[in-house]
Symmetry: C2
Subunit: 241 residues, 2 copies
């Protein structure tokens, strides 16, 4: 667990890496959510975490994230990178009512109107809208891809981060598995844009790595099938006529 931007001081506990960039991001309807330097720092932090996890012997990375209101930031990122209409990329997150949902779409629209995001400037897009978790996850994905280690993406937040990662380095998509398809509509848009087929599709919307972890045994099974299962040739089975 990596604290890249919790808006409170956290006690040191085992398993928590203190890598806070700042205590929370800013309101993207009023200005950029973070500075470019902050976005770069979060990207580098994510890449360093991936590097350290791989150095520790892990051969498959899995994304997870916790963040408040981060489906809103994800929707803005997804619209920025894919050109999707905010009404099609914004979902009900934790289960907001219709009025709050309308306001959420409107907030995304206001953000897009204010920042005129340029998908050719992925760091600028992350700075405009991202949570620190988005930027750190984008770095984590890039770190995994650079080391040729597969990374299983969780839901819509990881998907939005993957769009930023792939905008920075298109080949990074080859390292990505879509762990699942979440119930958030922006996630289906994202997976379609990235050309990723989700391994699990059970209408989950929990986040925190749950969907990606469910897919991990499937990826492990696929790797074992490729490596360990006998072929007709190796087992001396006659081909059918």
């Amino acid at each position: 667990m990596v604290d890249v931007g919790v808006a409170a001081d956290l006690e040191a506990v085992p398993g928590l890496l203190p890598r806070k960039i700042a205590p929370g991001t800013a309101d993207f309807t009023q200005g950029p959510a973070m500075t470019r330097d902050q976005a770069m720092a979060a990207l580098v932090t994510g890449a360093e975490v991936a590097r350290d996890r791989v150095a520790a012997g892990n051969r498959c990375l899995v994304t997870g994230d916790m963040g408040i209101a981060n489906t809103t930031a994800s929707a803005a990122l997804i619209c920025s990178f894919t050109g999707t209409d905010p009404a099609d990329a914004t979902g009900r997150g934790t289960g907001i009512d219709a009025a709050t949902y309308a306001r959420k779409i409107e907030v995304v629209c206001r953000g897009l109107d204010r920042h005129h995001p340029d998908p050719a400037d992925p760091v600028g897009v992350l700075a405009a809208f991202g949570g620190f978790e988005h930027a750190a996850l984008a770095g984590f994905i890039l770190g995994a891809a650079a080391l040729r280690v597969p990374v299983i993406l969780d839901g819509v937040i990881a998907g939005a981060a993957a769009l930023a990662a792939v905008a920075l380095a298109p080949d990074a998509v080859a390292a990505c598995f879509a762990g699942h398809r979440s119930a958030e509509p922006g996630h289906a848009v994202t997976l379609g844009y990235l050309g990723l087929r989700p391994l699990v599709d059970l209408g989950l919307r929990l986040g925190e790595g749950t969907g990606a972890l469910l897919a991990l045994p499937l990826v492990q099974s696929a790797a074992r099938a490729l490596r360990d299962v006998a072929t007709f040739d190796s087992a001396g089975v006659a081909e059918k006529n």
Copy 2:
């Protein structure tokens, strides 16, 4: 692994239960594939295997099967129990060509014409068309359900067996999880008829329990989430407004 009807003598090897009913079934276009007594014996064998597996401490059972040409028998069973047209329930199995596929459909039609299967007589339907594996799997499912142990079904062969099990004891469906949806068209028909949603849907068509095993970690995760994960109440998290 249970030998209920391999058409050859098998050496004793660890892990192989010798429970052969007969060395192979008969051609269902010429007569019933097995006698009613043989169908009953295979059903009982499957139920006994489930009972023994549960007695050994297993709390979730998984089906698997090996059999030659058993997608043809499965198609005939699926048509018998669901009333589906043979063209919609018959698939290409191991990848047969168009002419063989047409002949496969025609074989299923001839079997149905010959036996006039009555879905209200599930043992008769199994005897008419079944492989021994279908009857044994149906018994296995009934044995698991009777002991209130969940059973994860593999693909189209297990699905055809589940139709027989559920025809015998409708409540047995409550014990069944559809591990995956196979590429065989009869399997989608079967899952729809049983009202089961597949946990994995990756276009697999291998059989031998592979699809069910892929779903096992998902079922285990769901059980752990229900049992071990804190609720908002238990963790003292404030409800949202």
